[in-house]
Symmetry: C2
Subunit: 330 residues, 2 copies
Amino acid sequence: MRLKKPLLVLLAGLGLNASAWSADEPIQPIEPVKNINLAMAELGKKLYFDPRLSKSGFISCNSCHNLSMGGTDNLKTSIGHGWARGPINAPTVLNSSMNVAQFWDGRARDLKEQAGGPIANPGEMASNHELAVHVLQTIPGYVREFRLVFGDDKIDIDRVTAAIAEFEKTLVTPYSRFDLWLLGKKDALNEQELAGYKLFKESGCVACHNGPAVGGNSFQKMGVVEPYRSTSKAVGLAAVTGKDADRFKFKVPTLRNVELTYPYFHDGEAETLTEAVDVMGRLQLGKKFTPEENARIVAFLKTLTGRQPTFMMPILPPSVDETPKPKPFD
Amino acid sequence: MRLKKPLLVLLAGLGLNASAWSADEPIQPIEPVKNINLAMAELGKKLYFDPRLSKSGFISCNSCHNLSMGGTDNLKTSIGHGWARGPINAPTVLNSSMNVAQFWDGRARDLKEQAGGPIANPGEMASNHELAVHVLQTIPGYVREFRLVFGDDKIDIDRVTAAIAEFEKTLVTPYSRFDLWLLGKKDALNEQELAGYKLFKESGCVACHNGPAVGGNSFQKMGVVEPYRSTSKAVGLAAVTGKDADRFKFKVPTLRNVELTYPYFHDGEAETLTEAVDVMGRLQLGKKFTPEENARIVAFLKTLTGRQPTFMMPILPPSVDETPKPKPFD
């Protein structure tokens, strides 16, 4: 109880009032990250930025989930090993710990399982778990750091992906203007933005885009009222379940930081928020938003840009003579 | 005079003694960076990390001069647009402000002139100056930052490269163990390392690798005593001067952080320091170092690893609807 009064004073100083937070809203503020193993997250940050996990020595997790750019690559579909054209739009890593599952089709249960995927995907990092682990095992700086974090020298893919996932858990974006509004700072949004939020709720967008991540918590069919036409071959959840009923069901993306995560949809076909809102309205809700309505919703969506994770750029431990060499052109 | 005593106390506390620094050594400590325009350097850091300066939206300065990896890509030759295989090994950006000129063949006078090259090189970032500048002009966050730094809204390639160069001027690596030794911390090097330095001087390596950057200040023929055999088509300085006498003359690379900047030589053919020292001894000096001698020199070279520049990873201002889209596959 001793801490309570200073905390309230602090919140009042920020123009916030914890008691003003309404539990009735379909969107909740991003919760503070807790229980982070700092040394493991720091190791994971190095691995996240280390292109030696790829066959070429050129592609790291950060290449396609660039933390300078909203945790995405801002490309329609990603570029992989040998300049391969990826099949799908890179989802943001920001707030991805809140997702019900990982990848657009949900084929990875969690961040740890996800992290192993691209390393071994021939069209992404094009390495394999054995090689990636072997590279790390030869690097004295990594061996010491794994020892510090895990208590012994073993480096395996389980520990590698656990560390990357621990770092990714830190990549949340609190303090968006919308969250400040939710937390009681009533002047955090202007009239246009508030009208956009009202319309977002009343039109039914919140049916899928809700919760702290404003999405990420369910799979929904892309093209409910009208079919979605795309040249993309991605079939979504059906690729995982094998069920016809799951064709074109994709994980609803988070709308947190959506201002930064252009272009939109699993195929990256919507270049602007205006276009994305228009398509979503027509195909998912059977609504044709007027330009004014569309602009209102877009204004609201831009209030979901939170404080971006900032951190010291990691310095990677150098390879030694024994470290397997990258093979970009084999 | 009031500051003098506390400063001496501080140096003594670090085990340093300014008066012990000998001007007779052929290598000098890296000097502190001065006269940095901080706002310009901060803008330059963003530009350095911004892949939107490339046609693909995927390649930034940091892709090949990776500040997590000694300011290089640790590849034999770099990867460019469309997975192009570059013609030459990416030199480190660290301490590059001390170079007599930029690029292996010295074709750019300074960092500012260098920075414009890769942006417009079809095999590197594959954009052009007009497009890169236009992209930046559409981004409100950049427009504001250029206004802050330069006093008005104009964005042109001159200002873009000036800002990148200002950031690069900050990328020096003081506090190597060798510099601490030069500055009087006599236990900073062990016997093996000191013996390596002695051999480095006596064998003639210092004839080219001298000064604060331990190189970077002259052009020398690769293959003096014996010709250097390579499949590389690079001819060095002759490409700039057109003179036959300058064929295979390359800028002597800095040896600062050489432990981190593998592989070695303009063609990246030497994978290890051991190999590089052996080849240099034979081809440049007509000396065949014994394994023990080679190991001594390598031990000395590893004392040249300085404190790596550490900074907050930049957050880039987002594109807007009008921003030209990246074209990775055109």
